[in-house]
Symmetry: D2
Subunit: 335 residues, 4 copies
């Protein structure tokens, strides 16, 4: 009675999702995996008792596969998601949906032609308990109309392959999606500000960065991205409304009183912070697929918007000026 | 490939576990349910696609049932668990393991005769993330040798059927198990203290109560149980060692600044507080059963100890004096 | 226009108060000091431009001295306070008012004979901002009728001269006064409980200790005193009422995120924690003396009660049983 | 032996300072007051036993007056401070030092001609315990080199007379001084950003506002000013360095658990938040004057810098673009 899932891409996040679908999520079974690295695919597939299929295309076309999880590298997402839509199969695609905004439009066109939503994009913060509680507070009028959001996104450190553009494309993209969702409106412009750079960095990397967004209604969202902050993985968010403010809670942790201090640990890894969110996200998606219902999570439109907004942020990074954002009309399918 | 489970007792917690095993836990399937209320059993069974079996005995004997979850009322637990052991089937029994300490001894005898552990008792706090983090801090020497523990166990309100003895047997029993586990030693005596009683109470109910335990090493554990505290469900625990102290975190929740206060919600329901712990607990148990391994969770010995300790607390409630606790020797099976 | 004050005893707290009255408090001037160590008296006196008087008696009788601060060692307090009353001079006496309860009665008799309050006892916690805010919450009905109080009193370490009896007499005495004041009622019994002792201790010292008080109305107050807790000076207090609970705040301190932890410092010294309370306490006292009004702070009755209650705690320490407390009737002067 | 002080201006803050110098601060005496409202001056003077002098000039020239506190309205400050310098008398001037940057230069010229510092400007945040603890953390290297500061300055509400320009000149000016001091460097540019405005406002008022400063070293400071936030007076500040971050503590307040929430009060009034800072500030100033030492607090240079920086913020408010800030050379007297 479990949903039979194929997973494309068995790198870090792919392996995590295979494990999750096998050992944590109810009602799912990974039956096929593929990866350009066949050896890796074999190892990960074996851990779940799943067959290895030698290409993404074959996996998508495999009659046993009822739904697809795309965890390949970003540039491959667009074609794989389009193939899933063509096959009429529900697809969960890790972010980014596409690396090019035009591809996002192609996906939306295909999905509209198909006539119903097939795609969910993996912005897991919408499934984090803290963010969900914040959203409830806002939606229930607990802070009045939102006017300002202050966000912080810090990693202890990143690998040398992390580039200056990735602060927007890989890091702030999470805040972009989360704030679009929390505020319930689109972003209209962005300005990238470059503070004094940390000396704890690679020569090629501009770190930290601050992104200043303006929404359609004029609300302001500032996002500090600091990916070599040394001390831990730290996500903060405060939303200020006309009547109050609400703050994302830090993860619960026991306070230790010792050696002259009261302290709580800061998480070190991104994965630790959002493990539960990933579980909830995929459990919901599996349940919706099993019930033959359209997904509730982030849509192709959300994936497309995130790409357009972070493209604009990169443009401002290079130009130093405010860059307007134009998403075009939101198709009715994504209302 | 899922484990086929039978659930005895489809009241509140039974229904929750049926739902959990069906929709949340990976690798489990509820195939049979039973309850003295057959109509209730039918309703809950239907939600999971499980057959209704008309007695606990038949369910335990059902060849399709590979493992049993006992969520019937307390007095029935002993015979049902014994029947599971006789049938050689793994059994997860909600607390209390038995309502009578002598029955606990019978279960341990049967399990020892069988030759390996079959029983896990449902003390879910050992699976709560906060308690587990505390245990790690203690085990890693973060506070030195524990000397004192301060515990608080408050409910917003209880039903009229809640009796004075239940403060020990139903409420403090959770702290008894959690602290035996956290401190890694047995309780040696208990004194029940009766503060001024709240006027927000039933005539028959002595509320709040304080239990003062001494452990084998002389550490002291005080537990305030206050089941009509009005304001919410609130579990607190601080353990003080020779070099520091560690405190159970409150559940993470967003702080709202509004109307002159910074506030976070307190949970109202016991279930909300330990939902994740129940999930982790049953997922681990299912995984161990699937792997044909003995359970890692609380054992018959733990269930027995909890009964003996809370019996002594009730005795002290009535006598007003310190009551020594004698558990006897711990069988090697539970070392 | 300043009040001219004489200070008896220029040890640690005496020197602090001389400094405070000279450099921090408005409207006061230290004109005379005395101490059995004349050299010390000379040094401290010089810092304030005050004369050294060679005995306490002469200082009290000195016509220039309008009010007296007693900061000599405890056993000398009774006679010095009695001499002040005889001289009709307002006296601020550091705790303990007396080391013997009978002397407390003598002081109350003398004060009643004089016809108005002249004595204030130095229980500074009543002047701590946190405790005062707690009292306001309780008095405004914010938690309903108090039923239970949980208190913690920890020092990083004490000197070898600290004895087992001092846990009650020198440490818990602060909680005794603070809780009598917060709850607005007297203590009726006490039981001293001895947890496993810390290995970080002197051979002669029983540490930690727990005191269990019952008030006249049946409320319960538990006080953990742990004077070699290693990690800092830490005062905690939670009061639980029929409708809620209120907790003493930790001192405000900046949270630092560094090296994998969020931490705030714990104070190390008792003095740091209550510096502001001492300032407020003496400023109020000076203002009342200047206005020729009776003191608002802890009275002879409060000093007497603290001695009786902590005497009983020491008795329970030795006997191991619950010791009833009988303060007798409270004289009308202290209503 | 007290310092004899004259106070110019007996409005809200003047009255507070007269009270403070009389009843809270050691070693000070207010001997003369003046105000354009003679009746008000008489009332406030009487409360301190001080003479009323009919003009500021006469008060400054009064031979009994040893030091002057200027709490008149802003536009009058420059001439009064210059008169104090001419008279060679120490002067404590509430912010702003001057409303016009050129006047600030005149004051510095006069002070340099006099040859030593006579002026202290009333930026009291430097005396707030929380800010001082933050400064200690930074100065001791607890967060590494500062890169970014996030500040929030919210009032529950302001009067109708509050103008859009005052967000910079009256509100953010406190953050300007505090951050110059915390970071130990000057501000180099400012950009004023206007979020969606709150509907809980006056028609004429643009509220909230965000100020983005860049320092000489490239560090970034963002300051949200929101003066009709409804919920209370709330000052937040986080400084992020290469190795960690430090956050200004909220004022300590007792947490109340009641009615389904854990809550602490937010202060309502600005005065409540910084009462202690005002006390410490004036006590230090009085002590320095008494010892015939130059003041330790904010100098004419600091007052001048604050005016130049906030002038630039207002300019950016109107122009919408980044405005560079040029303070010129800092005179050696203010090194």
């Amino acid at each position: 009675m479990s949903i039979r899932i194929g997973v494309i891409g068995t790198g870090w996040i792919g392996e995590q999702h295979v494990h999750r679908l096998t050992n944590v999520i109810a009602g799912a079974e990974v039956v096929a995996v593929s990866d350009i690295d066949l050896e890796l695919a074999a190892k990960v597939g074996a851990s779940a008792g799943a067959r290895v299929v030698d290409t993404a295309e074959k996996l998508i076309g495999d009659p046993e596969v009822e739904a697809v999880v795309v965890t390949s590298w970003g540039p491959a997402h667009a074609e794989q998601v389009l193939a899933c839509i063509e096959a009429g199969k529900p697809v969960f695609c890790e972010k980014p949906l596409t690396t090019d905004a035009a591809d996002g439009r192609r996906i939306m066109d295909a999905e509209q032609a198909f006539g119903r939503r097939l795609v969910q994009v993996g912005f897991m913060r919408r499934y984090d308990a803290g963010y969900r509680q914040m959203k409830r507070v806002i939606d229930e009028g607990g802070i009045g109309t939102p006017l300002i959001a202050h966000c912080v996104h810090r990693n202890a450190a990143v690998r040398e392959s992390y580039t200056t553009e990735m602060a927007a494309k890989d890091s702030a993209v999470h805040e972009v999606d989360a704030l679009r969702w929390l505020l319930g409106e689109e972003f209209a412009s962005v300005q990238t500000v470059l503070p004094r750079r940390t000396a704890k960095r690679f020569e090629h990397l501009r770190d930290p960065q601050i992104f200043l967004f303006e929404t359609a209604s004029g609300a302001r969202v500032d996002v500090e991205v600091f990916v070599n902050c040394q001390y831990g993985y730290d996500i903060q968010c405060e939303i200020v409304g006309e009547e109050g403010a609400v703050r994302l809670p830090d993860p619960a942790a026991p306070a230790v009183r010792a050696a002259g201090r009261v302290s709580v640990p800061v998480l070190h890894e991104f994965g630790d912070r959002f493990t539960d969110a990933f579980d909830v996200e995929l459990q919901e998606w599996v349940g919706r697929v099993a019930a033959d219902e359209v997904p509730l999570g982030p849509s192709s439109w959300d994936g497309y918007a995130a790409t357009v907004v972070t493209d604009a942020a990169v443009q401002s990074l290079h130009s130093g000026v405010i860059v307007p954002i134009d998403l075009g009309e939101r198709p009715a399918l994504y209302a």
